[in-house]
Symmetry: C2
Subunit: 508 residues, 2 copies
């Protein structure tokens, strides 16, 4: 496959002539650069790096990269990069969408146009699969222009494939050789950056000139470290969700009779929920990490919500908004335990209508199962993935919580502790937030990330993640550099096996 690379015709999928007024107005908004990127700079190495954890194992996995320093761009200096160089750079979007991705590509493209001579940028189509299949477009100013400051990943599209097997690494190698790539920018989340690191190691180990630079992308905001203060897309997504949450809050206050249970994106981390709560001040916010730290159960979360509803009712308020992270139940140990037992039972036993099978559950799991609303019980038993496993991800957490709160309120009503007719509504704010028009912050941040990635490749770096810092200051004062990807790696132990992992909270 990869030997027959396909250079697709570079026709933009968008017509600016059909743009809405707001899209058109965003097109020509100028993108300020950090001052270090506005004139000549030198790339200065820091001290030897280590790993986020288990350095010895990381060193074994990355013999060629481990220990390499992070780099920072300093103004002026002696090692100014030559303009008389022509680079061939590939770029790929990996995983879920995040507002600003198009600006990262614009940044890379503009850097090479301004700081090198006759360079070429290839956009791999449809994610890492585009690298393996050698499917790409050659970017031109006309091709890139319509996507400037616009949402989505549709300029070259994205995909979730990974470069994992030896054959796949070989395919990537062939594409790199066919296109004579000097560098590759991988725009992605934690998995994609782990992958970028493995690819950088592979290329260096085989003495292939292709260098690899990562860029921190994910609306979930859980890819961060001291040097990477935030991933792009988080700002836009939170603002979009907050607008909708604010609208629902106004609606709740206008009607005076509904409780809105709002589920927000973010499976491994509740950052979006927390940020939206800080922006909108809803009545109740559930944070998965807090639930885990307090070792809460589904029952205690339900009681927490129900207590507040009862207290508000006594004060005359019978409406409100409750924010819930979509990954909530992944943070509750008893749920994980129940799922594990269910998977075991469903694999080997018959689930009888009379419910005799339930005796095989341990007592805590049995109790939890009985506590779940009937629709959720059914969903757990019936909707299973191709391996026969229970599909936790399919559970609509906001609906489950609403049903459990309703049941608890009914009970309290019978006991005379609650006197109202409770009315709940559920919402999921998800996909509509991933492809919005990037905010000024994300537009500027992404452009700097891309520009910086270009500079890192220009200076010969590999195995770094583009890092733009000091983000609370005006853009001119932002710092630019690259953090050694290996310094952000750890080895996680799960079920007795070791897994290489990007350490998402390396804030040390």
């Amino acid at each position: 496959m990869s030997s027959s690379s396909v250079n697709l015709k570079a026709v933009p999928g968008r017509l600016t002539s059909s743009y809405s007024e707001v899209q058109a107005s965003r097109l020509d908004v100028s993108l300020p650069l950090p001052s270090v990127l506005k004139s000549s700079f030198s790339v200065v190495d820091g001290p030897k790096s280590s790993a986020a954890g288990n350095p010895e194992e990381i060193a074994k996995l990355f013999p060629n990269l481990f220990g390499q320093p992070s780099a920072v761009l300093n103004p002026g200096g002696s090692s100014v990069l030559s303009k008389d160089i022509s680079l061939k750079i590939g770029v790929v979007l990996s995983g879920g969408q995040a507002p600003g991705g198009h600006n990262v590509i614009s940044g890379i493209f503009d850097y090479l146009q301004q700081r090198t001579s006759g360079s070429t940028v290839y956009g791999f189509k449809g994610g890492p699969a585009g690298i393996m299949k050698g499917k790409y477009v050659e970017l031109s100013a006309e091709f890139v222009y319509p996507y400037r400051n616009q949402g989505g990943f549709d300029m070259i599209a994205s995909g979730r494939d990974k470069i994992e097997t030896p054959e796949q690494f070989k395919q990537a190698e062939e594409t790199a050789k066919t296109l004579d790539l000097d560098g590759l920018v991988v725009i992605g989340g934690d998995d994609s950056n782990t992958n970028a690191c493995l690819l950088a190691e592979y290329f260096r180990g085989k003495n292939i000139k292709t260098r690899v630079i990562g860029c921190p992308k994910t609306i979930d905001g859980d890819l961060k470290s001291k040097e990477v203060p935030v991933s792009f897309g988080f700002d836009t997504a939170c603002k979009l969700y907050s607008e909708m949450i604010g609208n629902v809050m106004t609606d709740a206050r206008s009607t005076g009779k509904y409780y809105h249970f709002v589920r927000l994106m973010g499976r491994a981390a509740s950052h979006i929920t927390l940020e939206c709560a800080l922006e909108t001040h809803p009545n109740i916010t559930i944070i998965g990490e807090e639930v885990a730290a307090k070792k809460q159960t589904l029952k205690s979360v339900t009681d927490y919500i129900t207590d507040i509803i009862c207290k508000r009712s006594e004060l005359g308020f019978n409406y409100g908004v409750i924010l819930i992270p979509e990954g909530l139940i992944d943070f509750i140990p008893e749920v994980q335990q129940l799922i594990a037992e269910l998977n075991e039972i469903l694999a080997h036993d018959v689930v009888d209508e009379a419910g005799v099978w339930k005796k095989k559950l341990k007592s805590q799991s049995h109790e939890l199962f009985e506590f779940l609303p009937p629709t959720i019980q059914e969903q757990l038993l019936l909707e299973r993935d191709p391996h026969g496993n229970v599909q936790v991800a399919k559970i609509e957490t906001e609906k489950m919580l609403l049903q459990m709160v309703e049941t608890e309120l009914d009970k309290r009503k019978q006991e005379g502790k609650y006197k109202r007719d409770f009315l709940g509504k559920t919402h999921f704010f998800g996909y509509e937030g991933r492809c919005g028009l990037p905010t000024n912050f994300d537009a500027n941040y992404c452009y700097a990330l891309g520009f910086g990635a270009g500079a890192l490749l220009h200076s010969g770096k590999t195995g770094l993640i583009s890092s733009v810092g000091n983000l609370a200051a005006p853009v001119e004062q932002w710092t630019v550099g690259g953090t050694a990807l290996t310094s952000l790696m750890d080895v996680e132990r799960r079920h007795g096996t070791s897994l290489l992992a990007f350490s998402p909270f390396n804030l040390g």
Copy 2:
């Protein structure tokens, strides 16, 4: 209750100090008025009016109002209204939220401030119940200010109660007398305006001085006639939904693998869906009225969607966005028939597990029931309202259609007619669109509606709906007047009984 009216302390529920930048920036945006409202005008009656249908019956129901002319405001003229008059005006928000409601109230308030002396505006709290219970706040400039150009109905809140029984009319009368009301503005949809007309008739019939003026509100956009080109809120809601639909479309194109089934608000009419389709150009749009006109069945709608998915797949596109109005199944006669039969069976028979009960369904209904996804079948049988009736409104149409399309695609795949793995996602864009920041159009339109309502009351009119026209022209050229509510009324026959109804499509 109503004899003891409660004047609530007029403290705004909002603090402008906590406003977001965009909320704050909207506060002081000046509201242009139609030129006729900017200087002196006279209110000129048109010809005697009739009814939208069944004029004889309407005449009997409204002996005091029937036939009264609509009115139009003309610049200058001889019958210029006196400024030396002090009016007591009540205002009430009725039914679901629509962006711009606060500006209608601002318009009424500002009109009376500018064109009369020492007038008072009472805001009835929580909808028509506020009138019956005599629960109100006295509006002041300070109280009204924070809500200018802002979304929501929370200034005085809304409610769905109706003034229907003789006792309730009596309560409204007592409040009108206690507050010495010269006029009442009812801001609401078709039902609320029908109610406003009945109240106007009641007051005139009893020689009570309180005049009643309606204002056309509903995001669904189905309250319109020649004189009332659109109801307020429709513009904002459609733009908000369109932004989200546009984002999902970009997401679909970026991922290249999902079909998004998007349900939009609008039960009795598909106007929102149609307008959003015109704004965003999705791949498939289902319009309820079209489905009804073509006498389509659920099966034919499913086939229509499935055919397009298959055709797109042959062209290499395996993603898309499908818009569905929430009232879709109300437009399908066979569904109505099935529901009627189910209600009958569920009221009298036992639903046995083996399904023998299904033999009681007529063959077409039986076929349709078997065609429905199992989860929808269960929902129809299990989730019933307090009267034991099937709850059609609870069916999530987008999920139902997705499941039916999945089933059909599976079938075609087995027949070799479709080769892909279909992935669908569902969305409901609803409440988050009802309370958004009003667009410039809705802000200006509502302000003119309120200002015009003030003028109509000032000139002694009753039983009219505030009508602002020529809306495609700049605001200065908008026409202002009032349309006789009785001229928009009809009598609908349902199940042998006659129902008074606002005729929503009186475009003659």
